[in-house]
């Protein structure tokens, strides 16, 4: 063991090609230990492929994926520090949830049975029903419970909320924060819903079509764009020189999202021009930055929760 802290996750020029598509197209990333990361992207963007390779379950076509500086493939010492429950995780046909947790307790050294029991109650998970007979939400709950109670140094959650109702999702987020505060570790939350988890994240990685589109601290992203609304000519003159992320117009009105942090003078100027400035939430920012030109199909995520 060396003491020089290797990053929790390091990916170098990772490629994964299937016959018809590149699932990963030259991905490079460095994720530090002890943080909560969001791995965001649309379905099929390459999130699960990336996580599979990072956990030694999948094989890259080329490039490197390292956990604490070592390849996880067939490396039990490294694997013991990782937990990755797939969104479509398969369980032994004859297993019920209790048996799955019993197995997890064998392999994850930090397994916390009390936490698992508490989560079972929280999610009202039937323990004796065969896993293959569980609903989608209950199946997600099994994965979430294993991922949380395992307390692995590097934990991946793959679209963990599928089928969970709003209450159960909130329980998951609350318990995750609570447990993370007590036992900091590296957590990667893969998701195509950004709004709900945005506030939990310290760092955001956006992947699309196998490429990293955005890799930034969540805090520096927040407020890094502004929407300018007003008469088209005035908007155009105001945004001159800024990077435009998105444009909507209606008649003589325009609303343009620009990548900019406005200073006081600029704000005052906008006010003078009668332009309205509005903040851009992370979800929209991510969508605008990375998926420009695509239909905004993330509307489904705009769910009122609080």
């Amino acid at each position: 063991m060396n003491n020089a802290p290797a990053p929790a996750i390091e990916v170098r020029n990772l490629r994964k090609s299937y016959r018809e598509l590149d699932a990963l197209d030259g991905v490079s990333l460095t994720l530090e230990a002890g943080r909560i990361y969001g791995l965001l992207g649309r379905n099929g963007a390459g999130k699960t492929t990336l996580m599979s390779i990072l956990t030694g379950q999948g094989f890259p076509s080329s490039g490197e994926a390292l956990i604490f500086g070592h390849s996880p493939y067939e490396n039990d010492e490294i694997l013991a520090k990782i937990c990755f429950i797939r969104e479509s995780q398969k369980y032994p046909d004859d297993f019920n949830a209790r048996q799955a947790f019993k197995a997890a307790a064998l392999f994850f050294a930090n397994w916390d049975q009390d936490l698992a029991d508490r989560l079972v109650t929280d999610f009202a998970l039937p323990m004796k029903r065969s896993i293959k007979k569980l609903s989608r939400g209950q199946l997600s709950a099994v994965g979430v419970i294993i991922g949380m109670a395992a307390r692995a140094e590097v934990t991946f959650f793959d679209e963990p909320y599928l089928g969970l109702d709003a209450v159960a999702r909130q329980i998951f987020y609350d318990r995750l924060l609570e447990d993370f505060a007590l036992y900091p570790r590296t957590i990667v939350l893969s998701s195509h819903l950004i709004d709900e988890i945005a506030n939990l994240l310290e760092h955001v990685v956006v992947i699309d079509k196998g490429r990293i589109m955005l890799d930034e601290d969540a805090e520096s992203l927040r407020g890094s764009a502004v929407a300018v609304t007003g008469s088209r000519e005035k908007v155009d003159s105001f945004i001159n020189g800024h990077q435009v992320l998105h444009r909507d117009s209606m008649g003589s009105l325009a609303s343009v999202t620009i990548k900019a942090r406005l200073g006081e003078t600029e704000r005052a100027m906008a006010a003078e021009l009668g332009l309205e400035l509005s903040a851009v939430p992370l979800q929209q920012l991510v969508v605008r930055t990375t998926m420009a030109g695509l239909q905004n199909d993330n509307n489904e995520s705009v769910e009122v929760l609080k």
Binding site: F59, D76, A80, Q89, K90, P92, D94, A104, F107, F108
Partner: protein, 231 residues
């Protein structure tokens, strides 16, 4: 090493699969055999009664080989178990298990002989051609036969997991071609008498060794296939 043992423990979490079902099959099939023998008219009961019901458990091991891979391998991946560890734990567990059953078969064979063929002059376990060997060879034979069936199931399941139906099809065709090739070779060379003599000359020990080699080949093949398989 400890993770290898944990894989074995994981396979045993549902005790029914490894422990319960084989016992039920063994007891059940033997009981049915006894029942049939008991129902036979006296005229049919003259001479030795043979039964193949002892094989029943062995065929279950073929299914067990398939099951312990398809059911448990994808889950073992989520448990952060390397393929190698999964392989060693699962095969190790079965080996111990098969050894236990082999000894049990041997003991049942002794019992069978001591009770005059269960009172029916029957043969289920101590079939003449096996029972005439010493205990070690008998146990070896049963062990190898059980492991072989398990390995066939395990490898077939691994091939399916890695290459899906296409892989299984190609493996099946390949095997058929191999067998046909050997048959063709023997026929072309008019070698059948020699082949027959070879089989006839082969004792239980020889057969065990040949099957044992086959087990080793299957085990190696399974490992190499599993190493690059994705759940």
């Amino acid at each position: 090493m400890s993770r290898v043992i944990k894989v074995a423990q994981m396979q045993l979490i549902n005790k029914w699969t490894f422990m319960g079902i084989p016992m039920v099959i063994l007891v059940g099939s033997t009981a049915i055999t006894f029942a049939i023998w008991a129902l036979l008219p006296a005229s049919a009961r003259e001479g030795t009664l043979y039964s193949g019901s002892g094989q029943a458990v062995m065929w279950y091991f073929l299914a067990l080989g398939i099951q312990s891979l398809t059911y448990t391998f994808p889950f073992s991946q989520a448990m952060s178990v390397s393929r190698r560890t999964f392989y060693l734990g699962t095969l190790g567990l079965f080996a111990v298990f098969a050894l236990g059953y082999a000894v049990l078969y041997y003991l049942l064979g002794l019992l069978e002989q001591a009770t005059g063929g269960w009172g029916f002059n029957g043969q289920i376990f101590a079939l003449d051609w096996i029972a005439e060997n010493n205990g070690a060879i008998q146990i070896l034979f049963y062990f190898v036969a059980m492991v072989l069936l398990f390995m066939i199931g395990f490898w077939a399941a691994t091939v399916y997991m890695r290459w899906k139906a296409t892989g299984l099809l190609i493996a099946g065709i390949g095997f058929a071609v191999l067998v046909l090739g050997l048959v063709g070779l023997a026929t072309l060379n008019n070698a059948w008498p020699q082949v027959g003599a070879w089989f006839a000359g082969m004792q239980v020990l020889g057969l065990s060794i040949v099957l044992g080699c086959l087990c080793v080949v299957l085990a190696g093949g399974s490992y190499l296939t599993l190493r690059r398989a994705t759940a």
